[in-house]
């Protein structure tokens, strides 16, 4: 018997995983799609009622838009705060890197619920921020920070920060330090070197970080509902309400499918931008 070349793997090795995915991911997804086409909660008649109900309703659409917009805001904030952090990390001596890495990864090691509760303590009426503002005389009465859009964005940005910083660190540490030196030797200032050399070379990391942060931020049910409260409606809460409180499975299924398609659309757009920028980086 002739042995197979050792450097190529048999695709059959992927079969167990493929089977697992087919059974536990693809099949439920197909069922979800099927359920979304029922017109009534007892699942007897087919129709497009649920989709029409969502897509023709300005309120539902506004929930979708505000969820995606929330994702954009969190992603931008993470990028803005995460880039300098990743930059500092890459430029630090080895010992400091160990400490920094621990700090960066620490949020991932504590539960989302705990991190979110910490934000409730920070942003509350008698929280750290309000106490500071009151004692400095910058405010007369406690400001409402919790249950506001800003509060949700800041809390989500902290919770999802590692997802942005880690890919950035990978991208930044792959850049040859000589490139920067060469750029400045050729007369480019710090900003010019950054924009013309560093930024284009980090783009893959930025794209990866943005994708992860965006996807995590828009689906973060716990943080959205605890910091946003019961009156700020985003897609995950909308879905939960319809499926759990009201047992309206067809509408809930339709909401999930629409959300899924919208997110896929946003991700495709991201990827497109990434491909364009890669062209820019190499051109």
């Amino acid at each position: 018997m002739r042995s197979a070349p050792v450097t190529t793997y048999d695709l059959k090795l992927a079969l167990p995983l493929a089977g697992f995915f087919a059974l536990f991911f693809v099949a439920p997804l197909l069922i979800l799609i099927l359920v979304s086409f029922y017109t009534d909660t007892s699942l007897t008649q087919f129709g497009l009622v649920q989709y029409a109900r969502f897509l023709l309703d300005p309120f539902s659409l506004s929930v979708l838009v505000s969820t995606l917009w929330l994702g954009v805001k969190v992603t931008l904030l993470c990028l803005l705060l995460g880039f300098p952090l990743a930059w500092t990390f890459v430029r630090s001596p080895r010992l400091a890197q160990g400490v920094l890495m621990l700090i960066i990864v620490l949020p991932l090691l504590t539960s989302v619920v705990v991190r979110t509760f910490a934000w409730i303590v920070i942003l509350g009426r008698q929280g750290i921020v309000n106490n500071l503002l009151l004692s400095l005389g910058l405010a007369d009465t406690p400001l409402r920070l919790l249950y506001t859009d800003g509060g949700v964005v800041v809390a989500l940005a902290q919770v999802q920060m590692p997802l942005m910083v880690l890919p950035l660190i990978t991208a930044l540490s792959r850049i040859d330090p000589n490139l920067r030196d060469a750029s400045s030797a050729l007369g480019a200032g710090a900003w010019r070197s950054f924009i013309k050399v560093i930024l284009p070379l980090t783009l893959p990391g930025i794209m990866a970080g943005c994708l992860l942060t965006f996807a995590a931020a828009i689906t973060a049910f716990i943080t959205q509902s605890l910091v946003g409260g019961g009156q700020m409606l985003f897609m995950p809460m909308y879905l939960y309400q319809q499926s759990s409180t009201l047992s309206n499975w067809p509408f809930a299924a339709a909401i999930s499918i629409i959300f899924l398609v919208a997110v896929l659309g946003a991700v495709t757009l991201f990827n497109l931008l990434g491909r364009l920028s890669r062209g820019y980086a190499q051109g």
Partner: protein, 347 residues
Amino acid sequence: MIDRRQMMTTALTLGAMHAFPQLTQAQARRLVFATFTGSWEEAHRDVLVPAFRKASNNADIALDPLLSVDQIAKVTAARANPPIDVMLHDPGPALVAIDQDLVDDYPIAQSAHYNDLIADAQGAKGPAPFFQVVGITYNPDKIKTPPTSWSDIWKPEYKGRVGITNLNSTLGTGFLVEIARSRGGSEANVDAGFKAIEELKPNLGAVAANPGQLATLYQQGQIDIGPGNFNAIQILKARGVAVEFVAPKEGAIAFKTTIHLVKNSPNKELAFKLIEASLSPEVQAKLMESPYLIVPTNTKVKIGGEVAKALAKDHDEMKKKFVFQDWAAINKQRSAWIEKFNRDIKI
């Protein structure tokens, strides 16, 4: 000789049996009781389960702490061979479970305790072993004059300090219905309630996502007054948080927590024994004590302790002071109300 293929098959089978133990236990499994999460689970594990085991010759029982809606989803998914034998429900979900034909009639004729329950707690599809009571919660450190009426929550001095929940919870929906009733509305028409919440907006410091979160907000000083569940508040109080509960003079809102035999359960007899234990005066009296403070429904239980002090000193007074709501009427429109709340209530 065993070849690799056989080894693989055996390993996979063992693996599957480990991952899905129900495969092997489908025929005879122990009694599964779906209770609520948190303090309910604790109370049931510590008091109800031991009483049941004593009454059933140490039969095996598993607690499956789930929200009502999840209990219904789990049973609906396997009607013929349900993974749960006994369900516990708030009034809204109880009616859903009954409508969907998930529960059996309770065998009243065989029951030793059913006829001792106060009338509001009786029900052919499942009796209520406990009441949940909603009144006004406040922080006694910040609010020196205890509130006496629901309308106190609207006082301008509580600007930014009131907390409520949205309508996903029984608490939030019950509160809406109650304030609608106090302003001339009813279970069928809560417009007055929505108008009242609109007027409450300047006072609202939080619209919590669920009652559990609402309770913690007192601890953090985010809110100082609002509707609250008697048990949840007592638990906070026992942990040293500055909170007090008062029953408003209009009457405290009482919800039945009903217990149900699941249709097609393979453990009918044990399930009946568990429900009997939950209705018994012994278990109810024990659960009324600190730290559980669960309001009993059996008239043979002599009411005492914190329950007597804060709510009612006997079952006659209970009947007078508790307000029961018509959840069959509420369920009909709840979905529309939730939608209205989604759209209109923004703080």
